[in-house]
Amino acid sequence: MDLLEQMVEAVIQGDEKRSAVLARQAVEQGLDPFQVIQEGCARGMHIVGDRFGRLECYLPEVILAADAMNAAVEVLKPYLMKREDRGTRGTVVLGVIQGDLHDLGKNIVKIMLETAGFTVHDLGSDVPVRRFVEEAEKMRADIIAASAILTTTMTYMPDIAAILRELDLREKYLIMLGGAPVIADWAAKAGADGYGEDALEAVGVAQRLMAQKGGAKVP
């Protein structure tokens, strides 16, 4: 089994020690770090993501696989930085909206976006609308993504687009909304550019939005 195949397997197994060792070996062998991420780590995560979609595996396996992928990426990062193209498919500022502490869904979306090659800045839970905007500016993000599980907190979501408009920044960012009580029609009315019924759909939407924006690589 070649190194990339071993990396796929290490990620599927959620073996972060093994994936880090393989990443170091890849560097020593002079392999392209971007290729290792794409054809090793990301491919392994895609397989795990597909299995999760069919519930052939569950969230803990996805978390462990993501940890294994991140352990390898940490090793490869310094070598990636030397390249002009870091290979990210877009930068997402992600959080659970103000007043809401339920982050399980947001955590799944984060993992799935990272799996798909996005750089995700996780702001955690109970994130004030202004902070989404401030962090997006700081991180030079492409997408602001917010989730809510409560009907009493989803009402903050329209404020993201409103504040962006007020600050004359609306055209700069794509907005994605989701979460248990959020449906497509409501998200559109709240000013969202994209909506995901679940984490798997959210990734597809993020990829489509980035393709429309024209600034990122899409498979």
Binding site: L150, T153, T155, P181
Partner: protein, 459 residues
């Protein structure tokens, strides 16, 4: 037995643990319990009739709870309890809870497996979003149902025309408005003193909720609140603040538990074990008088899949065979109002729960997320099925055969379940009765269900 102050103490002095570590331990310990107690989900036994399995699921849930404990998010600490404390709490737990006053008094009790007593039926739109002007009629459509013993709220999208935002002054206004309107709906239905099991659905913060719990707004002394645990097996101080208030105010309180099948716990067996463990969390950390489970499928957002029906049935059997806790199940249907699918999903959910010794909280439909896709008729459908199971004396074996036939009617369509009709499309808003089309649809489904073995003539 541990009490409120012990719980607070443990949240301040229990061992520090990273939340992610706790999350991953849920599945790890659940897997150990699956192996230790030989717990196996069998798709052909949707409603299992294996007492040994039910008892093992109970023991596995208890062992998991003792080993894992409860995570307090505000302090990042693990709160652990001893076997003696859990057993003591189980022994001293209430066997019955009373709601309402006068001729509207209703008493929820614990039930047993294959109980001939009907389930206690709490009817509610489960917080379905609704336009402000239709809030009272929608809620009234539940309260007026003859089988309703308590009721609770929809979620008004605005109050006085303004959207409600958590943590703002309008949230306090909204909570008070919510309570006043609920009692108004009860009066309009001719049941002025019926109990409200969960007073407020449009406020999250404790200050707003407590501000609304005043007799002058129509709150009865034994109305109450539901306190929802955080998935999986976590609490925070916002929830425990409500406990502090309720232990002094004397209002009723119940625990709400929604483990995600496919989430941190894992598959159906692991999630069943975790679901049982939630009841100990509710008993010890919330001092809950009764317990309501709404386990959900992580992708479908409902609990009418084959695995979830099994989970509902085996955990309800586990708890009703081994405790005297009043327990309830909240069926969540993928399909919306006025569809054949919603009828079959709700009957299957009620069957799985009722024959296993649970009471019913009805009904979340259209995945509980689509505005105005809910009506009292779905609650009627589920409640009638629950009563029928008891009156007919349906056994678990019979329920299993019936449920498998019902599953054939919708199982493959869960991914693209129809949204159905809005409240104003499936009810006459003047008479506040279901449309003839909805009644006809239900009758056609009942005809088919008769063929499956449910004798609707007993209602």
């Amino acid at each position: 037995m541990s009490g409120f102050w012990d719980v607070i103490g443990r949240s301040e002095s229990g061992p520090l643990v990273k939340e992610k570590e706790f999350d991953l331990q849920v599945a790890r310990i659940a897997r150990q319990m699956i192996a230790k107690y030989a717990i196996r989900y069998q798709p052909e036994h949707v409603i299992p009739a294996d007492d040994g399995l039910a008892d093992r699921v109970f023991q596995a849930g208890l062992d998991l709870f003792l080993e894992l404990g409860v995570y307090c998010r505000d302090t990042g600490r693990r709160m652990k309890f001893t076997r003696e404390e859990v057993n003591g709490a189980l022994k001293q737990a209430p066997t019955a809870v009373t709601y309402g006053q006068g001729r509207d008094v209703a008493v929820m009790t614990a039930r047993v497996v294959e109980d001939s007593r009907p389930p206690f039926c709490t009817l509610t739109p489960v917080g379905t979003p609704v336009a402000e002007e239709r809030f009272v009629p929608l809620v009234q459509s539940y309260v007026q149902e003859p089988l309703a013993q308590t009721f609770s709220s929809a979620f008004s999208q605005t109050v006085h025309g303004r959207p409600i935002k958590s943590g703002t002054p309008q949230e306090v206004e909204a909570a008070i408005w919510n309570v006043i309107k609920l009692r108004e709906a009860a009066r309009a239905a001719g049941r002025p003193q019926i109990g409200i099991h969960n007073l407020i659905s449009n406020a999250e913060r404790t200050d707003a909720i407590l501000a609304a719990m005043q007799p002058d707004f129509g709150v009865l002394p034994n109305d109450g609140l539901g306190i929802a645990a955080i998935a999986e097996l976590k609490i925070d101080y916002e929830r425990v603040k409500k406990v502090a208030f309720l232990r002094h105010s004397g209002h009723n309180k119940y625990g709400l538990y929604g483990p995600l099948m496919g989430g941190y716990a894992g598959g159906p067996e692991a999630t069943a074990i975790v679901h049982v463990a939630y009841h100990f969390l509710g008993l010890l950390a919330f001092e809950a008088q009764w317990h309501c489970g709404f386990p959900l499928h992580i992708h479908y957002g409902c609990n009418t899949t084959r695995e979830l029906l099994w989970l509902i049935s085996i955990t309800s059997q586990a708890l009703s065979r081994n405790t005297h806790l009043p327990i309830s199940v909240s069926p969540f249907a993928a399909a919306g109002p006025c569809t054949e699918m919603v009828v079959y999903e709700l009957v299957a959910g009620s069957l799985a729960a009722t024959v296993a010794g649970a009471n019913l909280l009805l009904a979340a439909v259209a995945r509980n997320r689509h505005p105005e896709r809910a009506s009292g008729m779905e609650a009627r459908i589920g409640a009638e099925a629950g009563h029928l199971v008891a009156r007919q004396g349906v056994t678990r074996e019979q329920a299993n055969e019936i449920t498998k036939k019902i599953l054939d009617e919708y199982e493959t369509r869960l991914g693209e379940a129809p949204l159905g009709r809005r409240f104003d499309e499936c009810y006459d808003l003047v008479s506040l009765q279901p449309t003839p089309a909805y009644l006809d649809l239900y009758e056609q489904c009942r005809e088919k269900l008769r063929g499956f073995g449910l004798d609707y003539s007993l209602l």
